[in-house]
């Protein structure tokens, strides 16, 4: 699943959400496949904040990557019946993490592979930033699932194409993705990312996502550039 050889006729598509993990995946793909054309794809599935899409756009501009955003009528499909629930209901439902979006990765990876196929000859490759911290919460971030989806897509193309689902951080923790960004000197880009579920910019926000990010930066032992900028502004 990691750093496999891919023919240059294949254009890897990176799923970019505007968050930290997908930034790491994008940087990893660019570093690992320097001779390939790399494209980025953002899917607006309704529940994301516009900020996230803006972040994704900015990151791709900074890195000079062709970027596309598409809207999916996701909310009309799933959320009407079970998605938009009150927060109390979400907390009470312990089956999945509160932020689990049914079918999201299945759909995103299928779309990414389809997009990549339309840009490539002889196969498709998609990269995304799922990591080990997600496994327990999101069944569709687990390596077994990714390998399986890879083979399903390969079969759906007739079985003789190169199909790759690249998940460089699937075996490490979120802190590992941060480590990677720091190691390749790309951590600076993290200041353009967006993490908060509530769509706000607050260093002390206690939503699941912000807490996870803080914890990961603590573990990685580096400062989050997002807040360096904020504190500079406050000081300035």
């Amino acid at each position: 699943m990691n750093s496999v050889r891919i023919p240059e006729s294949i254009t890897p598509v990176v799923l970019v959400s505007g968050g930290l993990d997908s930034l790491a995946a994008l940087v990893w793909t660019l570093n690992t496949y320097p001779n390939h054309r790399v494209h980025a794809l953002t899917v607006d599935y309704g529940q994301t904040h516009a900020v996230e899409i803006e972040s994704a756009k900015t990151i791709c501009e900074k890195l000079g990557i062709p970027h596309r955003t598409i809207a999916l009528p996701y909310t009309s499909l799933v959320n009407r019946n079970l998605g938009i629930r009150s927060e109390v209901e979400q907390w009470e439902d312990t089956t999945w993490s509160t932020s689990f979006v049914p079918f999201r990765n299945i759909l995103l990876l299928t779309l990414g592979l389809g997009y990549s196929y339309s840009l490539s000859v002889g196969g498709a490759a998609v990269a995304f930033g799922g990591h080990r911290d997600d496994h327990s919460a999101f069944p569709d971030c687990r390596p077994a699932f990714l390998t399986h989806l890879e083979s399903t897509f390969r079969i759906s193309l007739g079985g003789n194409m190169e199909v790759h689902v690249l998940a460089p951080f699937v075996l490490v923790e979120k802190a590992g993705a941060i480590h990677y960004l720091a190691a390749v000197d790309a951590l600076d880009l993290a200041k353009y990312t967006h993490t908060c579920y509530l769509g706000i910019r607050d260093p002390k926000c206690d939503c699941e996502s912000c807490v996870g990010r803080r914890l990961a930066f603590e573990r990685a032992g580096v400062r989050d550039p997002l807040w360096e900028e904020v504190s500079d502004e406050t000081i300035g």
Partner: protein, 256 residues
């Protein structure tokens, strides 16, 4: 095995048409408005208590197809029908294909990139199945019925039977949720689909409301690839096509 109905005895040798056990609960049919999916609707109604339908609107979809789907859902007395607009998705995937960009029908006859025809949209069928499964999930159904058949096998590897079990397993792993994909027409050619439709009353009840023509004409133009395939199927099955033989009696489709 349970005692089979008369129509089932006629069809039991074709895999997928006859279910050895009657499943409980409801099913979602991916409905395009054509004769294959209309047959699937009546098939699902034989086996499931509640039948829902989902229709995808993408680049190439004509209004008439959506109207046909809507009318079939009404006449078939389905529990729910959802039209989902995924045109953005098909634009994303359409670089290698011609049909999505409509109008240029001639290209549909020629070969596409490599061995796959130009009408092949990568991952489209897979995407339809995933979206259909999402709809099934949201109406709490564990059965998805699709109309892919023998005629699709040549050009569309994602319509072949070896795709469905892996996809079911992928969905099982990714969602920790069970879904069964039914493709009752999988081993049937166009003529046999018409005969099955005859047995299931789909021919009598739903066929006058179906739509096939790529050019979006009703009654059909008779010259586009889809019309020729349809006509050929009817010729082989010996049944008259209600769309061309009903004349003035041809019913109106529901407005969108």
């Amino acid at each position: 095995m349970r005692r089979l109905d008369d129509w089932e005895v006629r069809w039991h040798k074709y895999p997928g048409v006859v279910l050895p056990e009657i499943p409980r609960g409801s099913a979602v049919v991916v409905l395009s408005g054509g004769q294959d999916t209309a047959t699937c609707v009546m098939w699902a109604k034989r086996y499931f208590r509640k039948v829902y339908a989902v229709t995808f609107k993408y680049g190439q979809t004509l209004d008439l197809e959506l109207r046909a789907a809507k009318t079939i859902a009404r006449i078939g007395e389905l529990a729910g029908h959802e039209i989902i607009d995924i045109s953005e998705v098909s634009r994303l995937l359409s670089r290698t294909t011609s049909l999505v960009r409509a109008s240029n029908l001639d290209i549909a006859w020629q070969g596409g990139r490599g061995v796959l025809p130009t009408t092949f949209v990568p991952g489209r069928n897979l995407l339809f199945l995933v979206l259909g499964a999402m709809y099934a999930y949201s109406v709490d159904s564990h059965h998805l019925v699709i109309g892919v058949n023998f005629a699709d096998w040549v050009g569309y590897p994602d319509c072949r039977p070896d795709v469905f079990p892996p996809l079911e397993e992928s969905l099982r792993q990714g969602m920790e949720w069970e879904v069964k994909i039914h493709a009752p027409l999988l081993y049937l050619d166009k003529a046999r689909i018409n005969w099955l439709a005859d047995d299931l009353q789909a021919y009598q009840i739903l066929y006058p409301y179906t739509h096939t023509c790529y050019r979006g004409e009703r009654p059909p133009c008779g010259t586009c690839p889809a019309c020729i395939t349809r006509e050929w199927g009817f010729k082989l099955s010996g049944l008259p096509d209600p769309l061309t033989t009903m004349g003035d009696q041809l019913p109106e489709l529901d407005p969108l």
